[in-house]
């Protein structure tokens, strides 16, 4: 069965530890695919994947082009590619211009996912030092999806969540621990 919901987690500077804590919090029977959009330096590429593998019970892998998302699997956007979502829910890769100096860009993936998943899109934006993600969150919300922003006061770098909050009204503004609770809730709530 094709999952009808997709959990997106976007973050930049200062978000890695929070991501680990979120992914540790979800059990290995998590009923949604998770797509992680993390600004990263391609030089540290392989070590990042290994870190994710060691920190979560979930199946973790880098997105491959044309791959269909499976429930309970965490997909990482590859360094230097945007990830888009096709109407059949498969992922596709895109090497076009950077957005907010970023590739992968959180905006690009949030918008593309919302075009396909609509109200089934759950988008979480964490700590970061640039404005990527704000437009994407607004778009997710317009499409009826659920938007969550890390409380800037609890973020290691507050600029990115702050930008999002100043541009749109997220459904939830939560400290990291509560985002974990929220995500666990997705497993039971439909």
């Amino acid at each position: 069965m094709k999952p009808d919901r997709l959990l997106l987690i976007g973050g930049s500077a200062g978000s890695l530890q929070v991501m680990f804590s979120l992914l540790t919090a979800v059990g290995n029977d998590f009923p949604l695919p998770v797509l992680v959009i993390l600004h990263r330096n391609s030089a540290f590429d392989s070590s990042l994947e290994e870190l994710f593998f060691s920190r979560t019970a979930l199946m973790t892998k880098e997105v491959e082009e044309k791959e269909l998302p499976a429930m309970g699997t965490v997909y990482l956007c590859p360094a230097d590619y945007h990830v888009l979502v096709e109407s059949d829910h498969s992922f596709s890769l895109d090497y076009s211009e950077r957005v907010h100096f970023s590739r992968p860009s959180i905006d690009v993936t949030f918008k593309s996912a919302a075009d396909v998943y609509g109200a089934g899109t759950i988008a979480v934006l964490l700590s970061g030092g640039n404005a990527d993600g704000a437009d994407g969150l607004a778009y997710v919300k317009e499409r009826g999806g659920v938007t969550v922003v890390q409380d800037p006061r609890t973020a290691e770098v507050s600029y990115m969540p702050q930008q999002a909050i100043s541009r749109m009204q997220p459904d939830h503004i939560l400290p990291a621990e509560d985002i974990s609770v929220f995500i666990r809730g997705l497993a039971t709530y439909k």
Binding site: K66, D80, Y81, D94, Y95, E97, V108, K111, D115, A138
Partner: protein, 276 residues
């Protein structure tokens, strides 16, 4: 915040129009990326409605030219993925050196940075004089740029770093002449290049090559089109020739995969035998 103004059905309609009017077939391109590019153009050129956008494309051939230029992705760089170029230097070029004449095809070369990178490698291996590099792209504008071999000087530091990481030991700046913000690459490199438009969807094989590079092009194609293009490459590749793809592309799912063997860790495959 505005919604994507072009819905899926409208996109299909537009692509059918374009095929009928101009013969360009985008119907098997990956839709998410195509839709994003078209949306970008639509917004950039401030069309009030989809109907007007469609009408303009139908009636204005000049505008269609702009459409092709803008919806294709032309992002590239010199010596992109240095470890890939290192493998070309150490593993592939020594084999190509045994041929009396070397023909290389860069399919979907955009503004040509990777063709110039290859020419530099060939020159350093002492093979450039007996090589011909063909660079093709669907987009005539980028082919014009590739022919000129002029790139922004602002990129040269990054390219120089890539060059060193790829195993280059000369002074990278010896390959170009800087003039204000532009860097013009040496004509000794350009002399061995032939640039031309070529549409991977509809155009045929035009020669036989020992090495074909097509990097970050197939990600924009749906599976069926990918397999057609793989067949075109297979047909255009000499036995024991090499096919090189982008860092996230694979020939694993193609029908020709059984007759190819991957070279090391890089996205390079060698043809082991011809189709039966």
């Amino acid at each position: 915040m505005e919604f994507n103004p072009i819905q899926y059905e409208e996109l299909e309609q537009l692509l059918t129009d374009i095929y009928k009017r101009y013969g360009y077939d985008f119907s098997e391109y990956s839709k998410a990326s195509l839709q994003r590019r078209i949306h970008r153009l639509f917004t950039l050129d401030k069309f009030p409605s989809f109907a007007e956008f469609r009408y303009r494309l139908q009636t204005d051939a000049q505008y269609f030219r702009r459409f092709v230029e803008e919806i294709t992705v032309n992002v590239t760089e010199m010596l992109r993925d240095p470890s890939f170029y290192r493998t070309l230097r150490t593993t592939i070029l020594p084999v190509l050196a045994t041929y009396p004449f070397i023909r290389i095809w860069h399919a979907g070369c955009a503004t040509g940075e990777e063709v110039y990178s290859m020419a530099i490698l060939l020159k350093e291996a002492g093979l450039l004089h007996k090589s011909l590099l063909y660079g093709t792209d669907i987009n005539p504008l980028v082919i014009e740029k590739a022919r000129k071999g002029i790139f922004p000087v602002s990129q040269m530091q990054k390219y120089s770093e890539n060059y060193i990481q790829s195993g280059g030991v000369r002074d990278f700046s010896s390959y170009y002449t800087a003039n204000y913000h532009l860097a013009k690459f040496d004509s000794s490199l350009t002399r061995r290049m032939i640039f031309s438009t070529h549409n991977l969807v509809s155009d045929f094989s035009f020669n036989e090559f020992q090495l074909i590079l097509c990097r970050n092009v197939l990600i924009y194609f749906e599976r069926d089109l990918q397999s057609k293009v793989f067949k075109l490459f297979d047909y255009s590749l000499e036995n024991f020739g090499y096919l090189a793809l982008g860092s996230k592309e694979s020939m694993r799912f193609s029908s020709i995969a059984g007759r190819y063997k991957q070279v090391g860790k890089e996205k390079i495959w060698r043809k082991t035998h011809e189709a039966g």
